[in-house]
C-alpha cells in the first residue's frame, strides 16, 4: 500500500530523518535555551549582553539564510582546515561537512534563542519565596535548581515550549534545501520525476499534521503532570 511508485521506502526513510533531526535539534535547543535564560538573568553585564545579542540576531534573520550561512560557510571552513593540515603536516584528510549535522546545529542554535526567552519568562514566574525557602533548608544552588526552580518553572514554560516545538518541527522542512534527504526532499524529487506532485506531497503534509497531533497529546499529558498540586489548571 505504501509503495507509491517505488518511492514509499525512501519516503519512510525521509520521515525518519525528519523525526531524528527534529528531536536532536530540540535537545540542543533546550540545552542552549537553559544556558541563554540563565545568562540573561545573570548579574554579569558581559554575559547578559552576549545573550541579548544572540537572541536578537537570531530572531532577526530568516532560518534559511542562517542555515545556508552555516552549511556553505561551514564547508568552506572545514576545507580551509583540511588545506592547512595538508600544507603544514602533509596530512591528506578531507572532511565533508555533514548536511545532517549542519541542520541540527542551525535549527538547535535558532530555537535555542526562542527557548531562552520562554525559559527566562518561566523562571521569573517562580515565586522568590520558594527559592528563599530552599536556601533556608540549606540547599545549595544546584539542589535549589533541581528540586524547586526547574519543576515549578516547567509549569509556566510548557505552553511556550509546545509552541516552539511546533514551529521547530515545520522548520525541519528547510533542510531539504541544503541537500538533506528528509521527507520533503524525497517528495519534491518524486514529484518532479513522476509529474504527480499531489501523490507525494499530500501524504508528507499529512505526516506533519500527524506528528503535530501526537506531540499535542504528549504536551497535554506533560502539562497535566507539571500542574499536579495546582488545582487542575
Amino acid at each position: 500500500m505504501l509503495d507509491l511508485q517505488g518511492y514509499g521506502p525512501r519516503l519512510l526513510e525521509g520521515a525518519g530523518v525528519t523525526i531524528q533531526l527534529a528531536l536532536l535539534s530540540l535537545a540542543l535547543a533546550l540545552v542552549l535555551g537553559l544556558i541563554t535564560a540563565s545568562a540573561k538573568m545573570s548579574r554579569n553585564r558581559l554575559i547578559h549582553a552576549i545573550a541579548t545579542v544572540y537572541t536578537t540576531l537570531i530572531r532577526g534573520v530568516p532560518d534559511l539564510v542562517l542555515m545556508m550561512l552555516l552549511f556553505f560557510g561551514g564547508q568552506m571552513g572545514v576545507n580551509v582546515i583540511s588545506d592547512m593540515l595538508y600544507d603544514s603536516f602533509e596530512i591528506d584528510y578531507y572532511i565533508s561537512f555533514n548536511a545532517f549535522a549542519a541542520g541540527v546545529l542551525t535549527i538547535g542554535f535558532i530555537f535555542g534563542a526562542y527557548m531562552g526567552e520562554t525559559f527566562r519568562g518561566a523562571f521569573m514566574a517562580v515565586d522568590n519565596g520558594q527559592i528563599e525557602a530552599g536556601r533556608a533548608y540549606g540547599m545549595n544552588n544546584w539542589l535549589v535548581f533541581r528540586r524547586i526552580r526547574f519543576p515549578q518553572m516547567m509549569r509556566h514554560a510548557l505552553p511556550g515550549l509546545s509552541n516552539n516545538w511546533m514551529v521547530l518541527l515545520k522548520t525541519t522542512a528547510l533542510v531539504s534545501v541544503i541537500g538533506l534527504s528528509d521527507m520533503v526532499r524525497v517528495a519534491a524529487e518524486a514529484s518532479r520525476a513522476t509529474h504527480e506532485p499531489f501523490v507525494f506531497l499530500l501524504p508528507v503534509a499529512a505526516a506533519y499534521l500527524m506528528i503535530a497531533s501526537v506531540s499535542e497529546w504528549i504536551f497535554a499529558r506533560l502539562q497535566k503532570r507539571y500542574n499536579i498540586g495546582f488545582g487542575g489548571h
Binding site: 534573520v61 545556508m68 564547508q75 506532485p197 506531497l201 503534509a205 506533519y208 499534521l209
Partner: protein, 242 residues
C-alpha cells in the same frame, strides 16, 4: 550626481564581490521580497477578517471548514504548501488554456498564492482569539444600546479586537518576512535568491549570506519599530498612568 557615483565607485574599488552588478542583484532581490511579503500580507489580511468573524459562527458547517483550513495551513510547513501549489498549478484542469496561464507560469504567483493562504490562516487565528477575548461588558453595553449583531461587530468588537491583535500580528509580519526566504527555492530571485546567486558565482558564503542577513535584520527592526509605534498610538488608553 557625479560626485555620488564617483564616491560610490571609490567605495567599491578593489572589492571583488560587492561590485555595482552584485549590489544590483541584491536590490532586485529586495524589491521582489518586499513585493511578495507586502502583497501576501495585504491580501491575507483582507481574507482573514471575514474568516475570523465566521470562525466564531454558531453553525458548525461554517465554523468547521474554516477551522480545518487554519489547522492544515498552520500544521504543515510553508515549503510543502509552496511545492504543492508550484508543482500542482499545472494540473488544474484547463489552466494552461486560460488567460491566466502566462501569469501563473512564473514562480512569483504560485509563491504569492502560497504565502497569502499561509498568512491568512495564521491571521485568522490571531483575530479569532482577539475577538473571543472581547470583554463581556462591552458586548452587553452594545446590546443595551439596541445595536444589531452587525453594528456591534463593526463598531465595538472589531475595533477593539484589532488593537488587541496588534502585537501578535506584528510577530506574524516578521514571521512572513523570514518565511519569504524560501521563495528562492522555486527559482525566485528574492533577497535570499540573490545571496545564493552571489555565493554560487564567487564561492564566498560568508560575504554573500552575512550581507543579506544584515539586510533582513534591518527590515525586521523597521517592522518591529513600526508596530511599536502603532501600539503606542492605538493602545495609548491601556498604558499605565505615570
Amino acid at each position: 550626481m557625479l560626485d555620488i557615483s564617483a564616491w560610490f565607485n571609490d567605495l567599491l574599488a578593489g572589492n571583488l564581490i560587492f561590485t555595482a552588478q552584485t549590489l544590483g542583484y541584491y536590490w532586485e532581490g529586495l524589491v521582489t521580497t518586499t513585493q511578495l511579503v507586502f502583497l501576501s500580507l495585504v491580501i491575507g489580511l483582507v481574507m482573514a477578517v471575514p474568516l475570523a468573524v465566521l470562525r466564531g459562527s454558531k453553525h458548525p458547517w461554517i465554523r468547521l471548514p474554516i477551522y480545518f483550513y487554519t489547522y492544515v495551513f498552520r500544521g504543515t510547513p510553508l515549503l510543502i504548501q509552496l511545492y504543492i501549489i508550484y508543482y500542482g498549478v499545472v494540473f488544474v484542469d484547463g489552466i494552461q488554456d486560460s488567460f491566466l496561464w502566462p501569469v501563473l507560469r512564473e514562480a512569483f504567483y504560485p509563491a504569492l498564492i502560497a504565502f497569502t493562504l499561509n498568512t491568512a490562516a495564521y491571521t485568522t487565528e490571531i483575530f479569532h482569539g482577539a475577538i473571543k477575548a472581547t470583554a463581556r461588558g462591552e458586548i452587553e453595553a452594545a446590546r443595551a444600546y439596541g445595536m444589531s449583531q452587525n453594528l456591534m461587530m463593526r463598531r465595538i468588537i472589531l475595533p477593539s479586537a484589532f488593537r488587541r491583535a496588534l502585537p501578535a500580528y506584528g510577530n506574524e509580519v516578521i514571521f512572513m518576512l523570514h518565511a519569504s526566504a524560501i521563495a528562492s527555492v522555486v527559482t525566485l530571485m528574492d533577497l535570499t535568491g540573490a545571496a545564493r546567486f552571489v555565493y554560487a558565482r564567487y564561492y564566498a558564503p560568508f560575504e554573500a549570506f552575512l550581507f543579506v542577513a544584515a539586510i533582513y535584520l534591518c527590515l525586521t527592526f523597521a517592522i518591529l519599530y513600526f508596530f511599536r509605534f502603532l501600539e503606542k498610538k492605538l493602545l495609548a488608553h491601556l498604558r499605565p498612568l505615570s
